[in-house]
Amino acid sequence: MSGPSDFQPSNPALKWIERRLPIFGLIHSSFVAYPTPRNLNYWWTFGAILSMMLALQILTGVILAMHYTPHADLAFKSVELIVRDVNYGWLLRNMHACGASMFFFAVYIHMFRGLYYGSYKEPREVLWILGVIIYLLMMATGFMGYVLPWGQMSFWGATVITNLFSAVPYFGESIVTLLWGGYSVGNPTLNRFFSLHYLLPFVIAGVVVLHVWALHVAGQNNPAGVEPKTEKDTVPFTPYATIKDAFGVSCFLIFFAWFIFYMPNYLGDADNYIPANPGVTPAHIVPEWYYLPFYAILRSIPNKLAGVVAMFSAIIILCFLPWLDSARTRSSKYRPLAKQFFWIFVVVCILLGYLGSQPPEGIYVIAGRILTVCYFAYFLIVLPLLARIETPRPLPNSIADDVLAKSKGRAATAASVMLALVVAGGLFAGSTQNAKAEEGGSAPPAQSWSFSGPFGKYDRGSLQRGLKVYKEVCSACHGLSYVAFRNLADAGGPGYSEAQAAAFASEYKIKDGPNDQGEMFERPGRPADYFPSPFPNEQAARAANGGAAPPDLSLITKARSYKRGFPQFVIDFFSQYQEQGPDYVDAILQGFEDKAPAGVTIPEGSYYNKYFPGHAIKMPKPLSDGQVTFDDGSPATVKQYAHDVTTFLMWAAEPHMEARKRIGMQVFVFLIIFAFLMYFTKRKVWADAH
């Protein structure tokens, strides 16, 4: 992209095209012959990782759009049907949802790398600003994508973020109405967000082309921060950079796959498995982890308009970085003070992220204000000042000298970089675990589940017993509307045959119609039917249950959670602990006590439950010993019932879990072998260059 190429293809057909459209020359000069500094480290592979992530997000996104319905009444269900019914739908959805987080994770590393090595300095200012524009577009895209599943966090996230614009003087309300297309967030909002969420990634791709173009005009920066002078300072992009990038990508994929196959909900919020309800705001509303530092800045300013201005300024200030930091020396390697302040700044950002996930009260608010000041001080005071007072260490004469000066232990660098990545990822991702304040509920005891861990499988006997408990007890009040009778015969489920599932279905009466006379009628259930709900509508459910509608249980084990706290959430990332929901449901079923302890008053029509937030639950004690008899001789106790029905409900919420973990193991084995192969291939290729 940096000028005309003298590349000539030898194939006559390609020659014919090349004379009319010099595309092969463009590719050759940009991605093959392009000289790349020979001292680039692995932080430079994140450009390639980001390109891969953008392509992957567009690909999986286009596919998900084939199955998704952007309508307020159907969106939540359509996402569930993607996960349950579409071939590999669970995989595609996990790839896309976790992929957004991975995309931001990679972009933050990419940005910090640019910051550390001074990649924004002359002549790369435009390159840097284009990057900031891409980042802003990514934020808009990520936000609108998070709205699409139309769960509670989607809805309230959309409400809060669009309300930011109401801070604009005079025009605020009109702008917000314009964004909503109504008097509140609703179906028109969802529709336009879907449209824009589909559009913006292609805009990002366009700006990425400009970004790469600007990169190839100015040339890549490098860890030494000195420009290449002679041929000895560079190596051709292919094979050297390509193979190194490919190795970086394959390592990143291992990290990515950990989320897709084992921790798909680790970065998500349990509340988003509750369908959007415009009448109830979740107790603790937090954005996705990648917005948390800016969210913390927003909240630490007590004035609405000033808060919004501060939040946007925190991003826009990056555009002015090339002029705020006027130091001649690019790389912080040779700037003893700048290097220290850089790491302090990284810590400030991570802490701001942590604060963004905590409730805005007490010490958190004060800490948030101090860190907000630190954030802006870094750009407005520290960097301009350092440029004037700092004495940099001497720079190497050339990149070749820098390479020679480097001590041995390159392999160790690669390994430590990857280790640092994983640890940083765990910490950073973990800092998202939002504050589900307990509000007086005790933490549920951890249970032992057959389905936990990388080899977890559902216990068939437990699923069958749990189905019996659901049918005989829970189904009197709770629906299971996303589970069809046919699912009982699915692989990885309770293990019934198709005939057994059909027989089970035929015991139910299903409303169907209208018939030829225009009347609704009842018929025996078929395998394709879904479990019928006990109440015809939410109002009826509410009226029959003292004002509290019993929730549908299809997703209950994923829609409930409790606070894990620090450092538990970090350990959870490595131990693959994902069973907050089942632990909670099991605890609730066993947590009823006849008499509330002294000092706790339970209102009329409510019951005391040890584990329910606030302790006053509208559901009466549902299970008692001996209520359901099992054919297999399992004990007829509440403990056993609770365990079995929770196992069953976990399957109902995640019917493809066994396939997910099984395929995950295969993918891991493959990716690890592949990363090793890539590593040795990279070493062989680079052997010539050293």
């Binding site: 690909l59 596919i63 084939m66 199955h67 049907l81 349950r84 019914d85 579409v86 071939n87 590999y88 739908g89 995989l91 595609l92 292919t238 094979p239 069809a484 046919r486 699915d490 078929r526 395998p527 394709a528 493959f670 990716l671 072998i673 592949f674 192969l677 890539m678 040795f680 291939t681 062989k684 290729v685 010539d688």
Partner: protein, 176 residues
Amino acid sequence: MTTASSADHPTRRDFLFVATGAAAAVGAAATVWPLVAQMNPDAATIAAGAPIQVDLAPIAEGQDIKVFWRGKPIYISHRTKKQIQEAQSVALSSLPDPQPDSARVKAGHDQWLVVIGICTHLGCIPIAHEGNYDGFFCPCHGSQYDSSGRIRQGPAPANLAVPPYAFLSDTKIQIG
């Protein structure tokens, strides 16, 4: 890629490059599989395509009804004596897609013709009781089918397809 080895002396380096390339190809193929497989019908669609039962009792002689199975219109015609006579007496050699009437209805149930009402030309729905052959006429491109649903005239290449079905009793069939 610049390799120093010559073709007749495979080296460890060549083996490594081939192994890495092969692993990449396997990985790419395995990735493409779910991306393509997702376009096949999902589990709910397949389950909804289960067999259906149709009560024939209300259909008088000379009438026909249209029911849907797997999103396709199925014509169920209660044929008249005249229609059966015509369908059985036509010379097979004169048909573009020769098939005796007995192969298109169930033995002992000659009066019932069950066909998928989709023209074998380009998928339009033929109109019953129209055309010159006491059968079906496709308004799109003028194909004409007889009282056995066999193509007689026009661009369609084949007879109307007969869906899988069985008589559960004299007045009830199961399609699928």
